[in-house]
């Protein structure tokens, strides 16, 4: 008959109260109960697998026990060291209160300002802007076919001709591609290209300008109203009025 009696073994663990923070790793084992007794924390309800787990073993001041017939045995020992402590058990979720780390509102882990840089881009985009030397441009337009000119717009920019559209003219010059209202040199992009919209909001909130970026990360404003349809006569009239201005001055 005695062989039918199943001897019930419980597993307990004990650690110093000061090491309570190390219980974070077992906080989610909801079947555990805790008790604070004379400077020690007792843990009850561990299974055999759990008492040997890395989560328990890695607690610094941990001592592991098993109980048999009300006696307390250190794990792996045959002689009891005392009786099972008689104390008040509290479920672990109620015994330990979680504290969230306080926010530091002055800490952003980044500089309050960023540098805007133009860097070589990974992808090339189709060029839609073209900065052409003035004399070259005028000489070409004089005999150019209107069919080539009709899809294009142009403006005068710092003594050069700036042509926008597609397909561009077969002339040497710097080309630009467009992202929103930004015109970047071909093969270049913003270092932080995802900030394009934010930067545009900052320097061109009304979207009334085209922004022409240089390779040295400086930029220039071009009024969207300054574009004219590219025709032989509009260039000829501009040449006339420019030479007229020079005569006066």
């Amino acid at each position: 008959m005695g062989s039918n009696i199943e001897i019930h073994i419980d597993y307990l663990a004990r650690l110093k109260s000061s090491d309570i923070d190390h219980l974070a790793s077992v906080y989610n084992w909801e079947h555990l109960s805790l008790s604070d007794e004379g400077g020690y924390l007792w843990i009850k309800g561990l299974t055999e697998q759990e008492i040997n787990s890395i989560e328990i073993k890695s607690i610094p001041s941990i001592e592991q026990f098993f109980t048999k017939k009300g006696k307390l045995f250190p794990l792996g020992k045959l002689l009891p060291t005392g009786n099972v402590p008689a104390c008040l058990w509290t479920p672990i979720k109620r015994a330990i209160f979680l504290e969230l780390p306080k926010k530091n509102h002055n800490f952003f882990e980044m500089e309050p300002s960023i540098d805007i840089n133009i860097v070589p881009a990974e992808q090339t985009k189709q060029a839609v802007g073209h900065l052409i030397d003035w004399d070259l441009f005028v000489a070409y337009i004089k005999t150019a076919s209107t069919l080539r000119l009709q899809p294009l717009l142009w403006t005068v920019l710092d003594g050069n001709a700036f042509v926008v559209g597609n397909p561009l003219l077969p002339l040497p010059g710097k080309t630009f591609w467009k992202h929103q209202s930004f015109l970047f040199p071909s093969g270049f992009d913003l270092e932080l290209s995802s900030l394009t919209s934010a930067i545009q909001q900052k320097i061109n909130p009304e979207n009334e300008w085209d922004i022409l970026w240089n390779v040295d990360s400086t930029y220039a404003y071009i009024s969207k109203q300054s574009y004219e349809k590219l025709t032989r006569s509009s260039v000829a009239l501009t040449v006339q009025s420019l030479s007229h201005q020079n005569e006066q001055s």
Binding site: T143, A144, T146, L147, T231, S233, A236
Partner: protein, 183 residues
């Protein structure tokens, strides 16, 4: 003016002055070349179009009275005269179209077309067959070929676009963008 034909009897110098000013203003839109205002051609075109326009108002005695005023231009035809005459002749296609609407069997129409087709540059909009025009002058002169081809594209005259010289001009000028730009 209704009911009777009013021929131009006196040569009006102010018309020529006006056409000259227009010529100079419109010249800058053309590819650069050395052309001068051709007074004779411009004035001939102006009177011709003036007479044609009256055909829409005056339908009696057409062949007897008006026909004698509808004469071919007898001067030299070159870059300057083509552009000068075009100042007024560009309105001829619209007049002929209206006349066709009124009566397409009107014998005067073929007479106008015969005279008008000597000026292919002005008649592009109503050209239906490529053999209506003698394009020799335009094919030989690179400058005329350019302005002619540009106007053909402007009016999207698909018949003239297929003339070999004009098609070659498009290929040379537009390259891979030919289809995109000729839409």
């Amino acid at each position: 003016m209704h009911g009777h034909f009013v021929p131009l009897s006196v040569k009006d110098e102010t018309v020529i002055q006006f056409l000259h000013i227009e010529f100079e203003e419109q010249k800058i839109a053309l590819p650069e070349t050395d052309i001068k205002f051709d007074k004779e051609a411009a004035y001939w075109a102006a009177t011709f179009v003036y007479n044609c326009a009256q055909l829409m108002l005056n339908r009696s005695d057409v062949l007897e009275k008006i026909s004698q005023y509808l004469k071919q231009y007898d001067g030299e035809v070159n870059q300057s005269s083509i552009i000068s005459a075009d100042l007024c002749l560009r309105f001829l296609p619209d007049i002929i179209e209206k006349l066709i609407e009124i009566d397409q069997d009107d014998p005067i129409i073929s007479q106008l077309l015969t005279i008008g087709n000597a000026w292919p540059y002005s008649m592009i909009p109503i050209c239906k067959k490529e053999d209506e025009f003698d394009l020799t002058l335009f094919v030989e002169d690179q400058w005329l070929l350019q302005i002619f081809s540009e106007r053909v594209a402007k009016f999207h005259n698909t018949v003239l676009m297929k003339v070999p010289a004009i098609e070659n001009y498009y290929k040379a000028e537009l390259g891979i963008y030919k289809n995109q730009l000729l839409k």
